[in-house]
């Protein structure tokens, strides 16, 4: 091995290690604090191991209320944005028309603008046009306006690989539009639809910027977290973070196991 490539390996390895310390260290500290009995969220001085912050968190009715709201909002965002994304991707992948690129640009524009602008415009629109003030409904509308864009892009990526000869064959054999859609198009797109639904759910569940302006006096989980972190900070928030991290790690492990099993099965 040439000396220069040894140097390169050391530099690359060092950079990777530093990068991941930067990325993951904050989460380690955050988790540690969840178990420190000090009432101020800090790692040191360590005042003894405790699980009481989890108890405090779980006893907080406001947290449960906001969690339920988050599920409601995410559910409706999925229900709205996946069909809209599907419709738009079918239209845009199959028909070429004069304003197609323009339409495309407008439909993806909410993804390229700050979330707070989507929240503000949706809030003002429903207030002005229908005298509906901010709440869960406006939040659903605001979130769906950009999450539909994600769904569209995800579904388009798959529908571009669709071989339409199958559909032509079915039409020739006398199938109706509905039958073709239900028996051929939908099964082909279903993996993309499932990932679109999962992504939409996660995007909605996590959303803070757009929701903050659209939600009025209601609370979703991120809004609850935001109000807690801005006022009196309690280690209960660290307990919540730890639960998030735990869920994430479990998800990652499950995903990786499934992926490896699939790889093994395919190689057989």
């Amino acid at each position: 091995m040439r000396p220069s490539s040894v140097v390169l390996r050391v530099v690359t390895g060092g950079y990777l290690i530093l990068f991941f310390i930067y990325l993951l260290m904050p989460l380690v500290f955050m988790s540690l604090v969840a178990f420190n009995s000090s009432t101020v969220p800090q790692v040191s001085p360590w005042q003894g191991f405790t699980l009481k912050w989890f108890g405090v968190l779980l006893a907080d009715n406001q947290m449960w209320g906001s969690l339920i709201n988050s599920f409601i909002v995410a559910f409706f965002v999925v229900i709205i944005s996946v069909p809209i994304g599907l419709s738009a991707s079918l239209l845009l992948t199959r028909l070429q028309f004069k304003y197609r690129d323009g339409l495309y640009a407008v439909l993806v524009s909410p993804l390229l603008l700050p979330g707070i602008i989507i929240g503000i415009s949706t809030f003002l629109f429903w207030d002005r046009a229908f005298q509906l003030s901010g709440g869960l409904f406006t939040t659903i509308m605001a979130q769906a306006s950009f999450i539909s864009g994600y769904s569209m892009l995800l579904i388009m990526a798959r529908s571009q690989r669709f071989d339409r000869i199958q559909e032509d064959a079915a039409f020739d054999l006398g199938a109706t539009h509905w039958q073709v859609f239900y028996k051929i198009t939908l099964p082909f797109l279903s993996p993309a639809l499932i990932s679109a639904a999962a992504l939409a759910f996660m995007q909605s569940f996590d959303n803070y910027n757009t929701t903050l302006f659209a939600i009025g006096f209601e609370q979703t989980l991120p809004i609850y977290i935001g109000s807690k972190l801005r006022s009196f900070i309690s280690p209960a928030m660290n307990a919540l973070s730890f639960i998030f991290i735990l869920f994430t790690l479990t998800g990652a492990v499950i995903y990786e196991t499934l992926r490896r099993r699939e790889l093994r099965n395919n190689s057989r």
Partner: protein, 315 residues
């Protein structure tokens, strides 16, 4: 967001349609009921969720802030007042300018930090190491943005980890107030938005043929030349998307300045938020418009600098 860079232009079989043939062609493709559902849902999305809300916001921004009983009355006329405030109010103007350069700084920092990681992930890492890095990158992003930023609050606070460490090592004699300037906010933003830079870069680099790099290497190109002549030109769309996303997230960020900021590090989005808290929706709408125009200007600047077109980028 990585999708934006990953979806390649060019469709399998697109039918060229004149506008007047659009409707017959729609029903040929999807049937009558199908066409109605498709056009209906797209129309609802396009008008009900994107265009009309935007127009209403523009309308609000050009109207004066009036008490409820005067709205619609003789005083309710279009005015530029809400926009002029940005120039006359020195505090707002200073924060606006600071938000711009700070967001540019966040974007450049994120690009520099992420470029090596994206390259390593796309062209060097294999097998287990590849999936480990991917998981390591994704895990922080499955955790709420607010909590991610909160983690830095714990590190940078007066009694935080960093100060404890510095005090223990006798580097500092008193806790340092890291949150005084903009530093903490910028650090938190780079941390919070790194993935939005890594994945567009990664997607663009992944499609680069490894043989091109090897060929350049065999012909005696240095590593610097390989990146300058081959990798960077190839991943221009990825760089543009990553920069657009990071800048947009930073300029419109509200969580990071709310949680990590001090009164001296006010952010433009916080002024907008304050406007809405004071029920001055008109002023808020005008500043939201300013932010929109800023982000659009940045998008077009990026497209120009990297010489990519919108079609290439948004797909």
């Amino acid at each position: 967001m990585c999708l934006l860079a990953s979806i390649i232009p060019g469709f399998l079989r697109v039918e060229d349609t004149d506008m007047h043939k659009l409707i017959p062609n729609l029903s040929k493709n999807f049937g009558i009921a199908g066409s109605l559902i498709i056009t209906g849902s797209i129309a609802f999305w396009l008008f009900g969720m994107i265009i009309l809300p935007q127009l209403i916001m523009i309308d609000f921004s050009f109207r004066p802030f009036l008490p409820l009983n005067k709205i619609g009355g003789p005083d309710d006329i279009y005015t530029l007042k809400n926009y002029i405030v940005l120039f006359t109010n020195e505090f707002h103007r200073a924060i606006f300018i600071k938000t711009i350069w700070s967001s540019v700084l966040v974007t450049i920092t994120a690009l520099i930090v992420c470029y090596p990681i994206a390259f390593y992930l796309a062209k060097v890492a294999r097998g287990t190491r590849f999936s480990l890095i991917l998981i390591g990158l994704v895990i922080p992003y499955w955790i709420n943005e607010l909590l991610r930023i909160f983690a830095w609050q714990l590190i940078l606070a007066d009694t935080g980890v960093l100060n404890q460490l510095l005090l223990a090592m006798n580097v500092a004699s008193d806790p340092i107030n890291f949150r005084a300037g903009n530093g903490a906010v910028l650090l938190g933003m780079v941390y919070a938005y790194i993935l939005f830079m890594v994945f567009p870069l990664y997607n663009a680099m992944e499609s680069l043929d490894r043989n091109q790099i090897d060929a350049a290497h065999d012909l005696g190109a240095s590593r610097f030349q390989i990146h300058k002549r081959i990798v960077i030109p190839h991943c221009k769309p990825g760089i543009a998307v990553g920069c657009i996303m990071t800048f947009m997230l930073a300029a419109g960020s509200i969580a990071a300045p709310q949680l990590l900021g001090s009164p001296s590090s006010f952010w433009f989005s916080q002024i907008i938020y304050t406007n809405f808290e004071c029920a001055n929706w008109n002023q808020g709408a005008a500043y939201a418009m300013v932010l929109t125009v800023l982000c659009l200007a940045f998008i077009f600047a990026m497209l120009k600098i990297f010489k990519v077109n919108l079609k290439e980028i948004a797909k």
